[in-house]
């Protein structure tokens, strides 16, 4: 899945998933380019703020084991002292647990 990053956070080696286009519609960099530090410098001078890059994990989406997910969920539930009562609340818990589990994996 392509990911949007701020140019300020762009690093060498990232691969563009979409071309970088300026406000006149001219292509500055085509997609597929591997970013070099000179690219990033030029993009900043051009006032480009965001890039769409290929997600490094796109081929192998990080798998969060159900065990890790359960641990994350339990530690949230300990601070919640309440249980989800409807679909929205359940989803808030699931999404938060997934986020924390991924953080643990250093993703």
């Amino acid at each position: 899945m392509p990911q949007i990053v701020a140019v300020d956070n762009a690093n060498e080696g990232m691969i563009l998933a979409e071309p970088v286009v300026n406000s006149m519609g001219q292509t500055l960099l085509p997609s597929g380019v591997e970013l070099k530090s000179s690219h990033i410098r030029i993009l900043k001078t051009w006032n480009v703020r965001t890039l769409t890059i290929k997600n490094e994990d796109s081929e192998e989406e990080v798998e969060v084991s159900s065990e890790l997910l359960e641990i994350a969920k339990e530690s949230l539930l300990r601070r919640m002292k309440w249980s989800p009562r409807n679909a929205a609340e359940q989803e808030m818990l699931n999404a938060s647990a997934l986020y924390h589990a991924k953080l643990t994996l250093g993703n």
Binding site: I4, M80, A87, E91
Partner: protein, 286 residues
């Protein structure tokens, strides 16, 4: 139980609290005048270069989704609207005002601001997904919901640090501890400050009622969105409020927050990205 400080002293300190900077006041005057144009507003903002630059960055950020297409303040007014530009000036002025809060406890004002910015972002995205037409105030309401806590840290730092410790030790919510030890909660004090600053009615309501999520038992879409966003940001651990306890949503809020299924899961990445992008330029000192 002995109060840490007299309620009157607190109220007096709120009244003596600084007003918002002149740029904000000048902007209010211009906007109140029906004959003002976008250029008048742009001129005032341009006098403060630091604010102008930040406003352009926010206007171009993922919060609004114009990705670098806004080049000057006049354009920002056209794209995101008069009121939203005014709100950004307000947010930046207030963040600036509270940046030098000295805190003698575990809670760091930067972390509180991070939490508040996350709440602002999520509140606005909730509003968007609910199809709210008038999204102005959504971002600002989220950002300012906990202004009362920052106010306490600024005007009564020692006493409030004690309140925080007391809440954590006794496993209480902040509001319970505040009521017991100060005789006034951060939501009520925050509303008083908002009143003094003449902030919009909707913002005042969110500061006052975000913990309950309803106004006098009645649903209110913006207040309910801030309520849900506040809980979700706490669950995600974006910044900290100091409260270890994750509050239970008020069941009544789901009447006005009829969010499509899948919102929380599918918005996660966008929330995270927008959050990381925003805290960098909103909290960076000039």
């Amino acid at each position: 139980m002995d109060k840490l400080i007299q309620l009157n002293d607190i109220l007096l300190k709120v009244q003596e609290f600084p007003t918002l900077p002149t740029i904000y006041v000048a902007l209010m005057d211009v906007m109140a005048n029906p004959r003002s144009t976008a250029n008048h507003v742009a001129e005032i903002i341009a006098q403060d270069q630091a604010s102008a630059a930040k406003i352009l960055r926010v206007a171009n950020s993922s919060i609004y989704g114009f990705h670098g297409r806004i080049n000057n303040i006049s354009q920002a007014i056209v794209f995101i609207g008069f009121d939203e530009v005014k709100n950004l000036v307000t947010a930046l002025s207030i963040i600036n005002l509270f940046q030098k809060v000295n805190v003698h406890s575990d809670i760091n004002p930067v972390n509180l601001w991070k939490h508040s910015i996350a709440v602002g972002i999520i509140t606005r995205m909730l509003g968007q997904h609910l199809g709210v037409k008038d999204l102005e105030n959504y971002f600002l309401a989220g950002i300012l919901h906990d202004i009362g806590k920052l106010l306490f840290f600024k005007i009564i730092p020692e006493a409030y640090s004690e309140v925080v410790s007391y809440a954590i030790l006794n496993n209480m919510t902040f509001r319970e501890a505040e009521q017991k030890k100060l005789g006034i909660t951060h939501t009520v004090a925050g509303e008083l400050l908002a009143e003094k600053w003449k902030l919009p009615q909707q913002i005042k309501q969110c500061i006052r009622y975000h913990n309950i999520g309803l106004i006098d038992g009645k649903p209110n879409q913006l207040v309910s969105c801030v309520h849900v966003a506040n809980i979700f940001a706490t669950m995600l651990g974006f910044g900290t409020t100091g409260d270890e306890v994750i509050q239970e949503p008020n069941l009544g809020v789901w009447q006005s927050v009829k969010i499509p299924e899948g919102f929380f899961m599918s918005s996660l990445q966008k929330i995270l990205f927008t959050y990381e992008e925003s805290i960098e330029f909103l909290l960076k000192s000039n």
